[in-house]
Symmetry: D2
Subunit: 274 residues, 4 copies
Amino acid sequence: MCRWLGWSGQPVIVEELLFKPKHGLVDQSLHSRMGVETTNGDGFGLGWYGQGDGPGVYHGVAPAWGDANLRELASHIESHMFLAHVRATTGTAIQQTNCHPFRHGRWLFVHNGVINGFEEMRRELMLAVAPELFAGIKGSTDSEVLFHLGLTFGLEEDPVAALERAIGLVEATAEKHGIENAIQASLGVTDGERLWAFRYSTEGKSRSLFVSAEAETVRELYPDNARLQRIRGEDRIVVSEPLADLPGVWHEIPESTVLLVQPGPDQQRPFQPR
Amino acid sequence: MCRWLGWSGQPVIVEELLFKPKHGLVDQSLHSRMGVETTNGDGFGLGWYGQGDGPGVYHGVAPAWGDANLRELASHIESHMFLAHVRATTGTAIQQTNCHPFRHGRWLFVHNGVINGFEEMRRELMLAVAPELFAGIKGSTDSEVLFHLGLTFGLEEDPVAALERAIGLVEATAEKHGIENAIQASLGVTDGERLWAFRYSTEGKSRSLFVSAEAETVRELYPDNARLQRIRGEDRIVVSEPLADLPGVWHEIPESTVLLVQPGPDQQRPFQPR
Amino acid sequence: MCRWLGWSGQPVIVEELLFKPKHGLVDQSLHSRMGVETTNGDGFGLGWYGQGDGPGVYHGVAPAWGDANLRELASHIESHMFLAHVRATTGTAIQQTNCHPFRHGRWLFVHNGVINGFEEMRRELMLAVAPELFAGIKGSTDSEVLFHLGLTFGLEEDPVAALERAIGLVEATAEKHGIENAIQASLGVTDGERLWAFRYSTEGKSRSLFVSAEAETVRELYPDNARLQRIRGEDRIVVSEPLADLPGVWHEIPESTVLLVQPGPDQQRPFQPR
Amino acid sequence: MCRWLGWSGQPVIVEELLFKPKHGLVDQSLHSRMGVETTNGDGFGLGWYGQGDGPGVYHGVAPAWGDANLRELASHIESHMFLAHVRATTGTAIQQTNCHPFRHGRWLFVHNGVINGFEEMRRELMLAVAPELFAGIKGSTDSEVLFHLGLTFGLEEDPVAALERAIGLVEATAEKHGIENAIQASLGVTDGERLWAFRYSTEGKSRSLFVSAEAETVRELYPDNARLQRIRGEDRIVVSEPLADLPGVWHEIPESTVLLVQPGPDQQRPFQPR
């Protein structure tokens, strides 16, 4: 059911987080320890801010662990903010247009989870998308529709309020159809400056989601770890599963919570669909 | 804008029609002579009736001319009825779910042409699809939506009447939006027993479409052509472009006309969207 | 390190063995229980004898579990003899030319295992291939070179003697280079009439390999299993891992042994590289 | 038979040269005007120097005109030196390992052309590759073998002398086999600082190759062309076909000649295989 990783901080070569850590995201594509599925081999995506206008997006349908181009890009792209995602399909086709992150203007969106009964509700949810945004839906996933519902409700102005409404709509629609546990959603959203990480599920048993501790804490905890000693300032990693067994480094984001990573103090607050 | 070929008749190894003729469909993928584009390199599809239940479908995103698997399948699949299609996208993604033929139950559908202004009308046309068929739309093409509109209007009972209504709806929607020349459509539809070939465009200047002459005529015209001497009984080829320069072998299907190839005498009649 | 399956017997629709059994080969691509790796997601191949001349081959680079075309082919191809293979690369590229089965004329060849130190020995082993066969090496795997060594030593006349010499050469070359445990090899070879299954490794701890029991035995053991009741005559399945937990149905092929499945009584004899 | 483009100069976003010119390289993939084939749809490659260590390489098997990832990378990668290549296979498989540029350490290599009779000479030419470089040959093209012959003869020290020897060896081998017109070769070679462009063929009728004029000349010729006004200093484009019909901007590189683009005055001298 997917794993994702977000980075916000000093510019880094992407492979530092995808490939080099012992349990980096690409390793998670083959050996996930906390996911519903151990294998996330149904495609990969990377969205990054760096050179050129707006975010760039690379979508691959091959498993991340064997994608030669991904390895090249990861070792030759530097970014201060990126989202990466490995996919385990819940049934929809393995194609680039179904790979995360989804993009709209300057915004990127990744989702780990599922809308239950999506096939049954797809038409109704797509109808709720603003007509002028409809043509932007290129694939067939529940995640892309959720993103467009968010955009419909003003994600570009207030991501939290917009996704509360979008998920509220999904839950209301599911209830109407008699579908239980409407949604599982670990979400990452960014505009290149700020990064929102959401952890929510209708049943209150959400997919795991972690954020790295303050730079200073990390450095003090592991004075002999060369990689961690390079962490500084406001560097933050958000990830579905810890990249390594490092007690003290990873803080679980609580249930029904949204974390905002931004310049200055980060914020955490309850997330309540309506 | 795509090229297609349909075969109805004695069981043949598929490559006899795709690869072996001088100007077979795979050659047309690289060197189309009558198409809007000379290159149809944005994917390929084959749907056939033979072993197993219902039609099998092979969809490839690589150009037909270089697809090693297609060459294998074509030389190892025998079928009495098949549709093959080479694609030149008018903008939608190159992915298997956008490759023709589309399938519903025992039915196959191919389209050469375009719905003009589709991006603008997509939402409205998708809404007109019967809700219970909505989940069957897996890709993002105009062609697949057209097929589902046909199914909505009863294609499985009466393909001609259903597609007259479907295309009529497209034209009415286009008119409402001030879009001219709503549709270009050379269509192939089959249930494995009968094959319908439609040639229609709003502006009355439709893509080319040809059907082969009666077996006896073909054999008499070319007594020294070994391949053509094997044509017999009710064998029929329908194709966007003649497979070779053989005067007398290829009859153009007229404008605004549908041809029904079936056991017993074939039928041809006007096609009038409403 | 790959898993494979061979069928010899009455004509069957391929999916009966790849997809339908509880632990069929496609399930093994995602959840292997006896392999060195649990995931075999680096490509797939099917070689079959049926319609058309000689064996057809389908090679896919996507994981078998998510390959829509594979599902189509498996449900629409009938064959009395086929080899299927799911790949877990030991380092060489994921590309169609590296997918098994490899083919030469009427012959198919699959390999589960590895030549240790292949990168170091590749040039030397390729030089040992008969010059007229050299151009037939299209990919970069150890397996394809092993097949061509077998062909060089007369595989088409006597597969067992030829592979004893080929593997003997690999072992001698490894010894010269100071490489231990030269080869792991569970091999399947067929000409469409007979099927050879080899189990051998230099260290004497070979990958698992099983053959199904006589049809009568299978039917008597499981009188209520509809699928197994259809087994008859000389039907045989050879497979890296049992397709289901059915005590009595699967016989392990012993170490350093080759099994020949053929019309009439099968044969089993020691396999001794020289 | 391929088309290629090299850039050396100020850092540019890659799409400025691949996509934006009227007849940029991606347009040449679909509508080549000077090539042997009009379609170069059998894969694409980009090698660039920028962020990260050494050159990055992106290889795609889809036609360049329809590759969504290529469009993303081109608009988000900035580089002062890159080589791009669109492929039309002369028979070898369409796979990433057959895509140009080939890389060795800091070096990149592209080839437009063919070694005639390569299948017949492949074994002999591969044997001439230094054993320690043999494992670096990952694909099956003539071009990659030519590159490795160049490396064998010291390409990293003196590219011109090394390729004179490599091509001389190819010609001598062809002569021994009675093969005429041994090689067609428009070659691009770079170490990230300097760019060598070779134009040579045994028969003296080489594929076209052009270099852009001095920046000052270009700006004076087209004072109203905003793109060309940005050309400055030592910026140079080397390309198989002019990117636009701009008299005075494109100088043909003569037959049997190698051009060296470098900091300071460029050099041009005869190229004579031995």
